[in-house]
């Protein structure tokens, strides 16, 4: 029976009553609907991913191979007028570590790393023992050393690019150039004043990297880096060195507390040199005191003393009250104003106006000053820029003290005529002397190089007055003057000494500021040099004795450096003397 049935098996299925039961129609439709719904869900998901959420996914994709790279930009250089470098940045690396990863280094690897970064193995271990996720192993590592470290492929040790600022001129220009802190931020001097201009702006680019980390394509726009602008100062580094070394020698020799010196070009108002003592080495600022950091010539004011006399006398000439050769009775070497007595260091008798300057007579200057209204003296000091910051753009520059003339008492007007009761900075004083070096006009002082001479400054005195004053100033360094030591062989120079008592707690102490401000060559002035020595320690404290020689040394050297022809040569080569000699 079994055998017989077999061939008919296929048919018997359909003949089976069970199989022939018809399913209810809604069930098949239900399955169909569910399948359709599933497809629809997939479709919607696809639509969501492809269209609605596309950006997010695109970003995820890009992040697998696109990289943003920063292109570093360097800080601008600071150079002197001839392009000699005063501050320059050089790339360095900082080595940093993820301590948890770095601790997996073998002993040998640690020893190599410690050797390369010049740390003791114990110090290195101490740094890596930190629980932080980021520690600096060593900053400011030279690039060559950094390459060696990178070649070791140490676990958890990474590198970052950074810059280090070098100051090749060191302490010589420290106050002027200043310095930067971490992250290229200017903290002092020109570095601070020109921070915005010096700062570089890093660029950025987006690239595709391959599996090996090579860049294979630029994508999108590249933002080019912009290096910081270079700043060209008016400083002449040779003259700066001269000024600095003479100042340093004198301050040390006379055991003084400090000093400052300024050299100005009278044609352009450029600051050719500006030095202070004490100073510091900007490349190594480990032990710095406020005393060292102070840029005295710009940020400190002092009572200038007799160096202000020429201005009072020039005003007397200008107003027609006195002539070059008017005689003034300075006997008996003192004068009483109210309850105060003004006296000369050495009593004089009859002095001409020129001799008042030459011998630096307080009595003579007082008499000239009191013949004029206070207002005109104030106006002159104001025109000369006293009491106002000199607008150099230098951080911390001060204006000094010039009180309004309405409150002046006669004694104050008298003391101001010879430089007491008024305070100025050395740079202001040097700048004021350009009126005598020029034809009575004042030029603004400039920290930056000026390529065009300033033809017309602000007029203060007439050309005639300036010329007469130059002749008087020349007498100061001549025989019978207060500063024969300020003479420069081969050149005609002129200037004025100052020996001022220092104010301490509102009273004049037995401490002095010795100063000298002078111009040269007298026949066609090119330079103003102002020297200030704070509290000379020895027996000598007169401006002519202490500051005079500094002036002579710096002025002589600077004139030679600039190739300015001597106007009082000791001998002149015979030119075209018929023997073919030159």
């Amino acid at each position: 029976m079994v055998v017989r049935r077999r061939p008919q098996r296929g048919h018997r299925y359909t003949e089976s009553p069970i199989l022939q039961l018809a399913l209810q129609g809604w069930r098949s439709r239900m399955v169909g609907l569910l399948l359709m719904a599933a497809f629809l869900a997939l479709l919607m998901r696809a639509f969501y991913l492809q269209v609605i959420n596309n950006d997010f996914l695109q970003e995820k994709g890009d992040s697998r191979y696109l990289r943003d790279i920063e292109i570093s930009a360097s800080r601008g250089k600071v150079t002197d007028r001839h392009g000699d470098m005063l501050a320059v940045s050089t790339p360095m690396r900082s080595i940093w570590a993820i301590p948890a990863d770095a601790r997996t280094m073998s002993g040998e690897q640690k020893r190599l790393l410690a050797e390369l970064v010049e740390l003791k193995p114990r110090e290195l271990d101490a740094r890596l023992a930190s629980e932080k996720t980021f520690v600096f192993v060593k900053r400011q590592v030279p690039p060559q050393t950094a390459e060696q470290i990178a070649a070791l492929k140490l676990p958890g040790i990474h590198q970052e690019k950074e810059y280090r600022r070098y100051y090749p001129a060191g302490d010589m220009t420290a106050h002027l150039v200043g310095f930067t802190g971490v992250d290229d931020k200017g903290l002092e001097g020109v570095e601070l004043a020109f921070q915005q201009s010096l700062l570089g702006r890093p660029g950025a680019r987006t690239v595709i990297r391959d599996r090996r980390g090579n860049i294979i394509e630029d994508v999108g726009a590249t933002r080019p880096p912009r290096d910081g602008n270079d700043v060209t100062l008016a400083i002449d580094s040779k003259i700066q060195y001269l000024a600095y070394s003479h100042l340093k020698a004198t301050v040390t020799e006379h055991n003084a507390k400090g000093g400052g010196i300024v050299v100005l070009d009278t044609r352009t108002g450029e600051i050719l040199a500006l030095a202070n003592w004490p100073t510091y080495n900007p490349n190594n600022r480990a032990k710095l005191s406020g005393e060292q950091l102070r840029n005295r010539a710009v940020t400190d004011t002092f009572e200038p003393g007799s160096t202000l006399k020429p201005f009072t006398v020039a005003l007397g000439l200008e107003k027609g009250k006195y002539r070059y050769d008017s005689m003034i009775d300075c006997a008996p070497g003192r004068i009483t104003i109210g309850r105060a007595v003004i006296s000369d260091a050495h009593p004089h008798g009859q002095l001409s106006v020129a001799e008042v300057i030459q011998k630096s007579s307080n009595v003579g200057t007082t008499k000239i000053a009191l013949s004029m209204p206070a207002e005109s003296m104030w106006a002159m000091f104001d025109d000369l820029g006293f009491g106002k910051a000199p607008q150099l753009g230098f951080p911390g520059e001060v204006g000094g003290r010039l009180r309004p003339w309405k409150n002046w008492r006669p004694i104050e007007q008298a003391t101001m005529s010879y430089g007491h009761g008024i305070s100025v900075s050395l740079i202001q004083l040097a700048r004021a002397y350009t009126v005598f070096a020029r034809d009575g006009d004042l030029v603004p002082a400039s920290l930056l190089r000026v390529d065009q001479p300033v033809v017309h400054g602000t007029p203060v005195f007439s050309a005639q007055t300036a010329r007469e004053m130059r002749a008087m100033l020349e007498m100061v360094v001549g025989p019978g003057g207060t500063a024969p030591k300020a003479a420069v062989p081969g050149y005609r120079v002129g200037g004025k000494t100052g020996t001022a008592h220092k104010l301490e707690g509102g009273a004049y102490a037995n401490k002095y500021i010795a100063s000298f401000v002078g111009i040269a060559p007298i026949s066609n002035p090119r330079l103003v040099v102002a020297v200030m020595i704070d509290e000379p320690g020895g027996n000598q404290y007169y401006g002519g004795q202490i500051a005079g020689p500094v002036f002579a040394g710096v002025m002589g050297g600077a004139l030679r450096t600039l190739g300015i022809a001597p106007d009082a040569p000791l001998q002149v080569a015979a030119v075209n003397d018929g023997k073919g000699r030159m």
């Binding site: 470098m85 090749p168 001129a169 860049i215 060195y241 062989p489 001597p566 030119v575 030159m582």
Partner: protein, 90 residues
């Protein structure tokens, strides 16, 4: 019609291969450019370091020291300086 299609198919395959090749060559060249630019950067760095080195050797105090001590140079006395007026000489 069939032949034209076949020809176009061939053309498209060739174009595709050409695209791949030029892309590859482009990337090669780009890498070479990158390498050269890296070299420029390195040379720039080296130049900066040499400049620093130069200015360190040429500082005025050092020059003066060598001139005075090793070369025994002195500033001539004012009497020994003879100014020559070039304009007159010409």
């Amino acid at each position: 019609m069939f032949r034209l299609n076949l020809f176009l198919l061939l053309l498209i395959v060739l174009c595709a291969l050409a695209v791949v090749t030029s892309q590859h060559r482009g990337r090669k060249l780009f890498q070479a450019l990158e390498a050269e630019q890296e070299k420029v950067r390195q040379l720039d760095v080296e130049y900066g370091q040499l400049q620093i080195e130069m200015s360190t050797w040429a500082t005025h105090p050092r020059v003066e020291k060598i001139a005075r001590e090793r070369l025994r140079m002195v500033v001539p006395a004012p009497q020994a300086v003879v100014p020559v007026n070039l304009q007159e000489a010409r």
